[in-house]
Symmetry: D2
Subunit: 367 residues, 4 copies
């Protein structure tokens, strides 16, 4: 929507030129420093592995750029605090984190309805984020390695999306939690990450344990079970797994309130389930006349013309560039404060799991 991808950078020069030619990107840089310091560039997107986020984001901020950083914002809570602090001192710049699931129309609609009180006070929040791309012992990805991904894998990689989404939709904040982490596949065979380039999430591994049989001990969790409580006292339960056969990117949440329930699932994103005691359950779809202003603004096609994951991403980037053009707007995208929030939850999950599931308080920037 009227934004020019002005430059890309990579240390792999061949691939870089190919991408630039294919997408007609005028400027190429063979180092990220060059790109970050290019005066023609307004905004920098950081899409590297987790470990690099901190240094790249900090440099881009120091260069005065708008920054859109992939989640997690940083590899440690400490780094996250530094970045969020820097961001707070440059309120006229965009500092976004890529929690794109917020930008589905029906998620916006859920948020509108919950906040308008359609469900009444909430009693219970429950759901799951389950995948199967790490099911076989031969599946491998840099995310398995704590040195590159951080000490939590399943929770930090996907559970964090679920928590971001649920806090965003409900306006409630998780203040206490109890977590169990499990590594069900104790050894995996490392493979070259390069095999997966060009996909958003790594596709499924090619097979079962190979004969050569190099393998490494795995310390990051394959699955996470979390109980939590919000600042308004609502109880919650979340199941996270990367080893649940048959589930591809199955993020779903349900909210049970005193008046009604509401549920949404990422794999069928154009449908909002409304559960009721005294009327038939209903399935709201993306029919403009039945949506609030927030959801309608994220809707680009008529009802029955499914929009999906790329459109949620597009909506997030549109929100970012609307504010790049007009910094007087307030941010309508996830910010570095939200990125920090997520790191606090990861830290709490690790702390609780490390103590046998003890209930722990979440540190926090909750207002």
């Amino acid at each position: 929507a009227g934004v020019e991808v002005a430059a890309v950078s990579s240390h792999r020069v061949g691939r870089l030129r190919e991408v630039a030619r294919r997408y007609r990107i005028p400027r190429v840089h063979t180092s990220h420093e060059a790109l970050i310091n290019d005066p023609e560039i307004d905004a920098v997107h950081i899409c590297t592995g987790n470990r690099e986020h901190f240094a790249l984001a900090r440099r881009a901020m120091e260069a005065g750029k708008h920054v859109v950083c992939e989640k997690p914002l940083a590899a440690t809570l400490e780094e996250g605090r530094t970045l969020a602090g820097l961001a707070a001192r440059a309120p006229g710049r965009v500092h976004a984190v890529n929690y794109q699931y917020r930008h589905y129309p029906m998620v916006a609609e859920a948020r509108t309805r919950v906040r308008a009180g359609e469900l009444g006070p909430l009693y219970l929040i429950h759901g799951r984020y389950v995948q199967d791309w790490l099911l076989w012992p031969a599946d491998y990805n840099w995310r398995v390695d704590p040195a590159r991904s951080g000490p939590s894998r399943a929770f930090a990689d996907i559970g964090s999306h679920w928590c971001d989404l649920v806090e965003h939709v409900t306006g409630e904040h998780i203040v206490r939690l109890s977590a169990r982490l499990r590594t069900v596949i104790p050894h995996r065979v490392p493979r070259e990450a390069g095999a997966f380039e060009g996909t958003v999430a790594p596709p499924a591994g090619a097979g079962r344990m190979d004969d050569a049989g190099r393998s490494v001990a795995v310390s990051t969790e394959d699955l996470a079970l979390v109980h939590f409580e919000t600042d308004r006292g609502t109880a919650g339960s979340l199941v996270v797994s990367q080893v649940s056969a048959g589930h591809k990117n199955d993020l779903r949440f349900e909210l049970n309130g005193a008046r009604a329930s509401l549920a949404w699932a990422q794999e069928t994103p154009e449908r909002l389930w409304l559960g009721r005691r005294d009327a038939p359950n209903a399935a709201l779809t993306k029919e403009a006349a039945q949506l609030g202003a927030e959801a309608a603004a994220l809707t680009h096609y008529p009802a029955g013309h499914p929009e999906g994951y790329p459109d949620a991403l597009k909506n997030l980037f549109a929100a970012v560039y609307d504010r790049v053009r007009d910094p007087s707007r307030s941010p309508s995208y996830p910010t570095f404060a939200d990125g920090l929030r997520s790191l606090e939850l990861v830290a709490a999950v690790l702390a609780s799991a490390g103590e046998g599931g003890r209930w722990v308080e979440v540190a926090g920037n909750v207002p």
Copy 2:
């Protein structure tokens, strides 16, 4: 199937005669003692409220009857131990507890497949049992009252079914758990239980809080969140609620194993979901040629002719009376040992919740 309902008993004589006439039951008794001691009677079904189970079951056993007792087997763990002990000393009699969900064909099929190793070792068990019939503060039933139902409500009443089913299907036993119980509606308006006679579970209450506004403080939980671990180390998560709008009798479980997944939901009982990493997910239906012997034996109509809850009950009773006729068979129904097992889980849940969700061991008769 060839069993005569020979007698009924009740203290309410008018209703008793009406039932006897309608169902052509030859013998009526105005006290349960008279029925229990009637020499024409082989087997006694105990369908009263929870509090009466113990005394009635003990007397019926003392009179040498076969006994089919509604769940829970008894109001306390101690009573349950007494009854299970008595049952162990009369192995030629039937002592069944009404966990009828086991007797759906597709549940039997799930059990067959899990035990045959189709899923591989299990990694994760998760699910829920959620209802909405106690959503409004004006909803009331004897189950709300701990003096009549016991100290746990949502977990003991329905969560116990889920655990029974999952242990039955997987052959694994829950050995440790952490539970949170919540009473989200602190006061309710008591009403006459009689209003619901003749339904299997009490239907939804008639409305919201009435004006007269008598109300009582509620101590039993509206919802329960449980994390658990089985004797084979499988992790588990269960959500139980009687205040989740839009859910009527929504019991569902999913098993994620090293090779495949499997899921079943009570409200669509003829479908078994098979989740796979390397092949499309599939929906097994009640097609005799595709079922194992156990499920086929519980199937009375061709595929596409839905059998439901009454048929599961019928299957349980058929299993009971097959053994009444031939006590040399081994029991293929839930026994008093299973009833005791369930009380042990309830006790563990109450213990854990009472200590802020601490992980506790489940006492037990696990072999």
Copy 3:
């Protein structure tokens, strides 16, 4: 519900005694004449193949019995007229035909809502009845043979159920139609029908074409496509097939009216889909408080406790015996007039298909 199965008859004496013993049926007859003339018998159920319906029903009526006849009422339109005529002259007796799908609670609810005008005038009726049990050339059953089943197979056997249901629910009558019949498997291997005894519909054949390879030419249709128009001018479309892989007993219909739509599917019978332009689509379930009196009366368990095909049959028989006990009631079950109606539709379908799909008028007893 208080009805005694007083006698059974069969020419196969061994099987007869086994059934009588298993179900505790006091009287057995080795000929249907003896049963029909037994003065202890009030009502006769005719469950033999189609060809025998006429003679048995006539004799039972002559003996003054109540008669419940399997569908189709008779093998020819002429026979059907004779039986309906006899029935009209004995209005105090029950003459029922087994269109049991009418007796699902949600079908009754559909009828109540359509008749109350909730959909507005109807614009379009569409649906299907598709199965796969005759998919392979080696699948065989007496229904394939026109001498035993009649000249139409797929339409007469199952399409007739769909039409009965849709006329029952809408109160509209099909007055004109255009039909295409197709026999896609021109030869089949005949097998002993006896193999399937004891199932309601014959289960799937045991395999593909056998080596011996006896085969017979097939003249009855495997699939039927029908366009129709009702007495109120509503357009309709129906697809019928017994060779559609993956469909077991997949009867479904949808009604599109000026105000709303409604759909029901037999394999998920407890759900009524409500389609709307200006509100989210909804799924009505068997929640007593949301049902009309007719549906509530057919409901025996709370919402979420699925009742199925056996319960629809039970409801039909209950309607029959309510009127056996009290003939002053008006029939609330499908009558011989409905059975004749169905034969008229079969005749019209055969006539249209025989003339290349020409639109033909349906003869009729439409009031």
Copy 4:
């Protein structure tokens, strides 16, 4: 993907400039002639109402441009023949028609599987394309007016998509058909079409019949019922409607073959249903490892990351521009020959309906 939108044209200058600025389109023309004759332009997209397609396409072809024309290719069969003839004489140019549903990954997968014989010979093709945006009498759009849209509305506007898709997937051609057309709302209130600009399909009308109450007689059909037969003798049935409450853009088809069935629905486009007699039915999803090369090439995100309608459009345009760049490729998009094909089907439907549903042959370019 590397294609520059070089120019736009419109007679409405204000809107034109706004669009050009928003999407950074360098060249603007205030007449289509100017755009068509602009030597910097390689390819022209024609997105005007149906009536203008012919003249614009012809001029663009005369100017030697590649042409992408919205469906229908032209307003009459005669015009379509002219355009297809012109296209045949310029084989090195792209002449595409916008049947974008072909370009969903799972549609490509369906085609691959059908052609590989996975279903066996087909017995039956059935489905529907139903919408509700013209349900109320106050709903209006230029499509209602035969002078602007052509003599067929529901079939030509949407039924044509269904037929294109089914012929594309099966490789079979509809050679004979019988059709019924119905106008259920005889008068409508015309409104300014301009109100809907910027949406792909017109959104739902604003309300019911207004008070002013201007209304026009409607001659184009609201619904169409079609029976057909293909060149390989497969039977077919299609239901088309723009007045079916609760359906937004509900295009679905099912294929029943001698070995298996397959079904796809546009509103849940990432799922391909596989129906089987001897194995559980399955739901293939967009998992790259399970897809053929054609579907994999249309897949840009991992399984579980839903791609939708915009992505199908994108895939069609990518196929167009791949061939613009390299005209030696054979077309992998719908061509003007396909556009003509569709007009032949429309003509056959109108002819059959005009003669009371008589079976008519489809004229044809079937090879």
